[in-house]
Symmetry: C2
Subunit: 436 residues, 2 copies
Amino acid sequence: MAADVHVVGVGILGFGTVGAGVADLLLRQGDLLAERAGVRPVLRAVADLDLARPRGIRIDRGLLTTDAAAAVARDDVEIVVETIGGTGPAYELTLAALGRGKSVVTANKALLAERGPELFAAARDGGVYFEAAVAGGIPIIRALRQGLVANRVPRIFGILNGTCNYILTRMEEERAPFETVLREAQTSGYAEADPTLDVDGHDTAHKAAILASLACGRAVPLSAVGVEGIRDVSNLDLDYARELGYRIKLLAVIRNDPGGVSVHVGPCLVPQGHLLGQVREVFNAVLVKCDAAGDTLYCGRGAGRYPTASAIVGDIVEAAQRRAAGRSLPPPYLPDPPKIRADAYDRARWYLRLMLLDRPGMLARAAEVIGRHDISLASVVQREGPREPHVPVLFLTHRAAYGAVRRAVRELARMEGVGAPPVCFRIEDLDGEPAG
Amino acid sequence: MAADVHVVGVGILGFGTVGAGVADLLLRQGDLLAERAGVRPVLRAVADLDLARPRGIRIDRGLLTTDAAAAVARDDVEIVVETIGGTGPAYELTLAALGRGKSVVTANKALLAERGPELFAAARDGGVYFEAAVAGGIPIIRALRQGLVANRVPRIFGILNGTCNYILTRMEEERAPFETVLREAQTSGYAEADPTLDVDGHDTAHKAAILASLACGRAVPLSAVGVEGIRDVSNLDLDYARELGYRIKLLAVIRNDPGGVSVHVGPCLVPQGHLLGQVREVFNAVLVKCDAAGDTLYCGRGAGRYPTASAIVGDIVEAAQRRAAGRSLPPPYLPDPPKIRADAYDRARWYLRLMLLDRPGMLARAAEVIGRHDISLASVVQREGPREPHVPVLFLTHRAAYGAVRRAVRELARMEGVGAPPVCFRIEDLDGEPAG
């Protein structure tokens, strides 16, 4: 067990925001890493098709290349950092690196969620490291795989997309509608020009599939994740939620019970008094409910050059240590999927907001539809207000199955006298939820 | 890099609350650990002087022994779990185990804070693992040493003692005085019969010294940690703090600057709007401010049988993996201490509450003393109220040196017309604090 410093060669694929951050950290923090971890990652190549664009970091231009495949093939590159993104060239290059026995460090949640089992099967001795793929600078993968290894993990709740959390926070604070805040976020760089992946929940779904796979030890396919985005969250609902003591968050909800696994992404009401309800702006947070450690919560920046690079360099160090020791971790989960529980099992309390024509009997008719679908009401709120043609009416249900609620919502949407489409969000109390 | 399961023998010293939890987890979660981590820790011996007391777990009585030294000496015990506590037999047995090349897993913060450098020097190949020594079930040591390895860590703020946080939470919610809540906590098992180690801040100081050593990479001696407890926190101050938008927490404040390190434990005002201000009851939390990852926060249960056992079993698994690979981590920090910054550097805003005789000129005289010590006031609050002989007057200062504030407080305590001793707490805004 030598305390000597183990030198390891690193190649970075993709010289964008994150790739440049990784290069910068490796070049600046080399001595720190050698002292703390006994390994010295040395940058050998950085590949990108566009080498002209300024990156805002100092780097020896001799390290730069446009030939990613050649960078992967170099004998002196033992660890390949993939920051290209997507499932095209990133997939081919990752497979090529693993095939050569190299270790791959990636922030690519789409690649992992869609091709994880293939990558882990190809990994042989090198290993695939993916701390940066979920929740950026927060070491949540390491916590789940190592720190909490002694725990069964029946529940994970995550705020995993900084763009969505930023938009919801600003909508709440400025009382401005979704479209206005989205445009502001695009101008200030907190949202992409094409925001679909973020605001429609797909990015969160990728990360939820990865966390769910770790929780249950089997590859949860992306197709098993129920996904809703935040486009339907209105200022009206944010206000109602606040009055009721909640905030609306885009939440990944992972249930891992002996009977099976269910994973949902969607807007949920989260108690204001819970730490998860306090997570604001671009921050991410993950609440891991464990059978031995109890509730543990992790919070930090889920994106950005240096938070992501911090996670990647942590992985480079771990890969280097494990290469030096000649012993990798076992694959993070088995390739065959777990039993996925049907929607019927996915019981929760629900927030249901209708716009009803302001005339006698409408509320009773809506309540009758809800009751007929075997959904029991905890409370109904209709406020006095200006006499508009349609008025908001709020139904909070007791625990009911998602499928039943969905069917009720479909029927209500078609009912005469119902204005805008009904809005339905899950209420997550986060504590002491009964299994089932 | 074999994926075969590596069997490793474990001996537990101390069969109390935590030791029994570790035994129970090892016996119940063996298959889970083998599948997830590729190692199977097998319990070989559990040593305690008292074997009669019931522990509430099922265990083969053939594993039990009263001879701890013999358990350490067994050839089939490769990993020794020390849950005895204190710095007496725990120290001797730990040294003996390390001398035989074994790995030691410990939850003993006092031992680490007082004898850490000696233990790490003796560790040779086996290594000392101590995730459970700070913040129980939260994998904060692993986060600092591994996940955040690429970061410099200029600031750490920690709520590290569940008993104190419980008492402060109950005092705030029940508006009951310290002594009453302490007695309640003792009755309900949240405080020890002798609460000194907890309520006077020493337990937090042990943990703060360990975190500070990890942050700066050098052993911070316990003697360098400034310590105040929570006995002087009154309901009056909790109320004032709340009105000002703060909560009072027993906070470990670690500053790690190029010029040196300072570590303080004491009651601090923390903003209610910050996650750290929302941590309630027995929960612990650590805010780690990093140069690359930014702010990351970790929260969970800091004590108790299974949270602590969860951390210990995580360490057993890591020790087993590293033994299998024949390569340990480097020591967590160097034995020689860093430069410790004198109090003069420890600048903050301050909350200063005096009981002044209700007569003209008193407030001016107190303000004059404060000003003469070069402390500038941000605001002064004196409320109308019943005419008692002494009335509370609140001074909030701009940033000022701890030494100056201490001198001013000493002078004020002796001033004619000052009733009860002055109360002085640091205000930690947690965000964007200037270096100084």
